[in-house]
Symmetry: C2
Subunit: 135 residues, 2 copies
Amino acid sequence: MLTRVHHINFIVEDLEDGIRRFQAILGRPPERTDTLAARGAITATFQLGETALVLVQPTRADSTPGRHLAEHGEGFFLLSLETDDLAAEASRIDASGVVGMAMTEPRHGIKNWRVMDLQSDDTWGAQLQLVQEGD
Amino acid sequence: MLTRVHHINFIVEDLEDGIRRFQAILGRPPERTDTLAARGAITATFQLGETALVLVQPTRADSTPGRHLAEHGEGFFLLSLETDDLAAEASRIDASGVVGMAMTEPRHGIKNWRVMDLQSDDTWGAQLQLVQEGD
């Protein structure tokens, strides 16, 4: 089953500027910053309740975040929904015939998270994904 | 203080089609549907953990959701952050000098929620808001 909104990502051109703005909104600095070399991004994470708000600055134009920035500009980028059984939920969604998965095998995010993206064409261009945290 | 991601809104052209897609992702129907005449929208709400995922179909082109649809198309629309003290948090954010509020008095959402929007120009065009639930 799906259990919570795990994280929400925003694409920004300038991570430091983004941190300054989110810090003004949330009233505190981010819990962590990360460099995701394989994903082509640097990130800052603000935890709010059970959900993380993540600012993502692309570091390469040819990365997924870099392409999103070029096509859509800054702003909302991705909604990640936590599951307790990634393979089962991905299969269930694919079997719906309404919304499809964009990948057949998980990729790895920060902190050993395993993630699978949905077909964004099936959700109005909004990038949704499933995530299961590692042990 | 801010306590959780209260709801996330998506703009859709066709609420029935949107419900079909979200039902495929979440594996269950929406908890509720609402008609917001003053806001110019009909909505469907799927609760996921402590956050509601809300599909919003504009019913008038001259409403806020209608203008968003015309300008940005379907997809992510709004991120609503819950606070336990709406006036205090709005004042704190305005005083930051980095991000401003778009209104000085709250407006009413569904279920007696009081909401105040932030200046979306200060958050890359992403519409953020504060919300406090009524008694």
